[in-house]
Symmetry: C2
C-alpha cells in the first residue's frame, strides 16, 4: 500500500498550529483515535475523535497505523548537503584539543570541502546527494532547505545548485534551495574579499536567480567570513533578484546580524547563539524566524546554546534544524535536535516538535502547505511507535519513524527508504 487513501487507527495525531505572523511558537493540538483522508497528495479530511476508521473505507484503500502516533513530516530549514568527503579527521583533531577556528586557519574546515566540490562533477554530487536525501527521509524529514556554499566560484556554486535540482527531480523529498556563495571568502580572494563580494552580487546571485535555481540567498556574517557592510551588499543583491534572505550570524561572535536580518525582513536568522536581547527584539518585530542549530554547538563541544526560552518569550518564532554539514554538524537527525532543544535549551517537547515542523515550514516559506496536517496541507506524515510526542525527544535520537509518507506516498519504513516500485 504505497498510496493509501486513508491512514486509520491513529492513536494520537499531533497538529502543530499554523504560525500567525509575529507570534511565538503556538502549541501543538492533539487528537485521539482518528483517521486521515488523503487525495492528490494532500490531507482532505480528519475523522472525528474516537473513530479509528471511516465506516465506508475499503481495506485496499487503508494504511493501518494501529495505535501509532502521527506527526507531520519534519521540516529541516538549514542544511549543507552538497559536499564530497566527510571530515572525521577534523573531529579527531578537535577531540585532541584543537579548536574549529584553528583547524580552519590551517586549511581545514569549510575550505577543505570547497576543494572537494570544485573537483567533483555535477553527476558525482547528485549521486552523493541522493544517498543523503534518503537518510533524511528515513529519519522523518520530508522537506529540507539545502544550501550550496562549498563551490565559491560562479561555476561551482551553480554546479552545486544544479546538482540539487537534478537530485530533487529524482527524489520525493521537498527541497528549498539556497545560494550560499557568501559562505567564506575563497582563498584566491583572501587579499581582496570585496572583489569576491562583487562577484557574488553582480554575477552569482543574478545568474542563480535567472536560472530559477534558488529560492533564497544566505551569507555567513562572522569574523573570518563576511563583515556587516559586505553582508548588507549581499542582502541588497538578493532582494533585487527577488529572492528570500537568510543569514548565519552570531555563532561564534555577536555581529549585528539580528538587526540586519530584521531590517531586510529576512526569512530566517540562523545560529543566534550569542544574540543579545535588543537583537532578538528586532527579529521578533520583523517576524524573522530564528533557526536554532544546537547540533553544531553540541558537536563542536561548546555549551553556548542559543537562549531559546528568552527568544520565545520575546516573541520570536523558532525553528529547529540539524545544520547538517561535514564539519560542524554531521547528523541528519531532527529527533536528536529535538532532544538537544529540550535538554540544552529548555524547550518543551511540544515546542520542539512545533519548531521541527511548522517552524521549519515558516523558515522555508511553506507554512501554507507543510508543517501541520490540517486539511489542505501536504500529506507529509510520520508514524511513530510512540505513546505521545514526548517520546520523540526522550529517545535521544534512537527513535526512527515506523513509516514516512511524502505527499501521501510511502517513502520510508523503519529506517529504510521505500522505492516507488515498493522495493
Amino acid at each position: 500500500m504505497l498510496l493509501p487513501r486513508y491512514i486509520t487507527g491513529i492513536r494520537r495525531l499531533a497538529l502543530p498550529q499554523p504560525s500567525a505572523e509575529h507570534l511565538p511558537a503556538p502549541p501543538v493540538g492533539i487528537l485521539n483515535d482518528v483517521w486521515i483522508e488523503i487525495a492528490d497528495g494532500s490531507v482532505i479530511r480528519i475523522g472525528p475523535e474516537g473513530e479509528p476508521a471511516p465506516p465506508d473505507a475499503a481495506s485496499e484503500q487503508v494504511w493501518d497505523a494501529s495505535g501509532m502516533l502521527a506527526t507531520p513530516g519534519l521540516v529541516d530549514p538549514h542544511t549543507h548537503p552538497v559536499f564530497v568527503e566527510t571530515r572525521q579527521g577534523e573531529f579527531v583533531r578537535r577531540c585532541r584539543g584543537e579548536s574549529y577556528s584553528q583547524i580552519a586557519a590551517a586549511g581545514g574546515g569549510i575550505l577543505s570541502s570547497v576543494r572537494g566540490v570544485r573537483a567533483a562533477s555535477e553527476g558525482k554530487l547528485v549521486g552523493l546527494l541522493l544517498g543523503r536525501l534518503d537518510r533524511f527521509l528515513e529519519l522523518g524529514t520530508t522537506t529540507i532547505e539545502a544550501k550550496s556554499g562549498y563551490g565559491l566560484t560562479a561555476e561551482d556554486e551553480l554546479k552545486s545548485l544544479r546538482a540539487l535540482r537534478a537530485a530533487s527531480a529524482q527524489h520525493p523529498i521537498g527541497i528549498s534551495p539556497t545560494l550560499l556563495a557568501a559562505h567564506v571568502v575563497p582563498p584566491e580572494y583572501r587579499d581582496d574579499p570585496d572583489r569576491y563580494v562583487d562577484i557574488v552580487c553582480d554575477r552569482i546571485i543574478p545568474q542563480a536567480a535567472e536560472q530559477g535555481l534558488v529560492e533564497a540567498v544566505d551569507l555567513f556574517l562572522e569574523e573570518g567570513a563576511f563583515n556587516l557592510s559586505q553582508a548588507q551588499r549581499i542582502f541588497e543583491a538578493g532582494r533585487q533578484a527577488g529572492l528570500g534572505l537568510r543569514i548565519h550570524a552570531d555563532q561564534f561572535t555577536s555581529s549585528g546580524g539580528a538587526e540586519l536580518a530584521a531590517e531586510f525582513g529576512a526569512l530566517s536568522a540562523d545560529h543566534m547563539d550569542r544574540t543579545d536581547e535588543a537583537g532578538i527584539l528586532h527579529l521578533a518585530r520583523a517576524g524573522v524566524t530564528v533557526v536554532l542549530l544546537p547540533g553544531a554547538v553540541f558537536f563542536l563541544g561548546l555549551e553556548d546554546y542559543a537562549p531559546a526560552r528568552r527568544i520565545i518569550e520575546l516573541g520570536c518564532r523558532i525553528a529547529l534544524s540539524t545544520d547538517f554539514n561535514p564539519g560542524s554538524s554531521p547528523t541528519q537527525s531532527l529527533p536528536l535536535m529535538m532532544t538537544l532543544g529540550c535538554i540544552k535549551m529548555g524547550l518543551t517537547p511540544a515546542e520542539a516538535l512545533w519548531a521541527a515542523t511548522m517552524g521549519g515550514a515558516s523558515a522555508t516559506h511553506r507554512a501554507d502547505r507543510s508543517g501541520t496536517l490540517l486539511p489542505g496541507y501536504d500529506a507529509d506524515i510520520c508514524l511513530w511507535e510512540a505513546e505521545d510526542i514526548d517520546c520523540i525527544p526522550y529517545a535521544c535520537g534512537d527513535m526512527i519513524p515506523a513509516a514516512v509518507f511524502k505527499r501521501g506516498r510511502l517513502v520510508a519504513e523503519r529506517g529504510r527508504r521505500v522505492e516507488p516500485d515498493g522495493r
Copy 2:
C-alpha cells in the same frame, strides 16, 4: 547467508588489543583488506593484509563485506533493561526545570519503575525485554550486562532475574546478569533501611547465587540510596556468595565508592563522575574497570562528565556504557556514547572504540572471549559502511551497522533484527 564461514573484502578490521592487567586502555590495531574465517562461532583465522578473500573460498561460504569496516560487536557493561513503562513524563518535567532528585522525592524516579515491575508478570517482562534486546543488536551491541533493581523484594528481584534468563534463552545477545537489589531503599523500609540491607544480604543475594541467576552483585552508593557501611555489608555478602562486585558511585556526590571498589577488587566502578584523584589511583592499582556513563550526564542536562582523560592517565582501564534505563538514560546506542566520550570527555575515537568493546568485555569478565576479533575470540562482528573507526563517533549516533553477527550468525542488518530463519 546466515552463517558464513568467511567474511571477505573487509577494507579495515579494527582489533582492540586485549587488556593487560592494571593497564590503561591499550590501542586498537587496524588491518587493511583482510578476511576472517569463522568456525563454531569463533574467529579461527584472519587472512593476510592485502588479500580480500581466501583463494579457496566457495561463494556459498562467503559473506562479502565489500569495502566495509569491521569491528568487534560492542559490549555494554551497564544496563537496566528490566522495566515496564518508559518515563518520558519525568523528562518533560525536567525540561521545565525540575531536578532528577526533586522528581525522585515526589515519588517519581526509580520508585515509579519499581511499582511497574512489581505489578508485572515474569512473562510480561520477558516480552518487553525481547524487544529491547533486539534494539541493542540492531545498534551493534552483541553483549550486555543487565541488572535487576526495580523489584526491591526477594520475589520481584528474582522474578526480574528469571525474566532475564528466559529472555536470554530465546535471544542471541550475550547477557551478563547482575543483582541490583540495593538500587534504592524500597518505600516499605524507608524508616529502617538497615533491615532492608539485612534482607538483601541474608536472603536475596544467597538465593540469586544458589539459583545460578547472576554473575555479579551491584549497589548504588549515594545520598538517598545506600551508605558506605551498608555498601560494605552488601559487598561482603556478594563476595561470600562467590559473585563479582559492581558499584554505582560518585554520580551526584563523592562518597568513597572508589576506595571500597578497590578494597573489594570489584569488577567495575560505574559513573565515577565526581571521583577524586586518590580514588582513581585506588581503582587503578586494584585493576577495577571504570565504567563511564556519559548518557546519564547528558540526558539529565548536567555537565560534570567523569574526568576520563585523567582516569586513563592515572592508569585505569575504562569502559563506555549506555546506562540504558527509563529515567536517566533512555538510549541504547553505544555509538552515541562514543560520540559523547569523544566530545565531552576528550577520548580519541580509538579509545572510545576500545572502551565500548574490550573495556566492556573486561568489566563483564569476558576479556578472554569478547571485545576483539583475534583468533579464538567469539565471532561477534559489526560491519559498518564507514571508511574508518573515526566515522562511528563522528556520526552522532546516526550510524548503524550494516550487519551484525553474533557468534558467527547474522542477527541484524541495517537496523533490523534478522530472525534465525532469515526473516
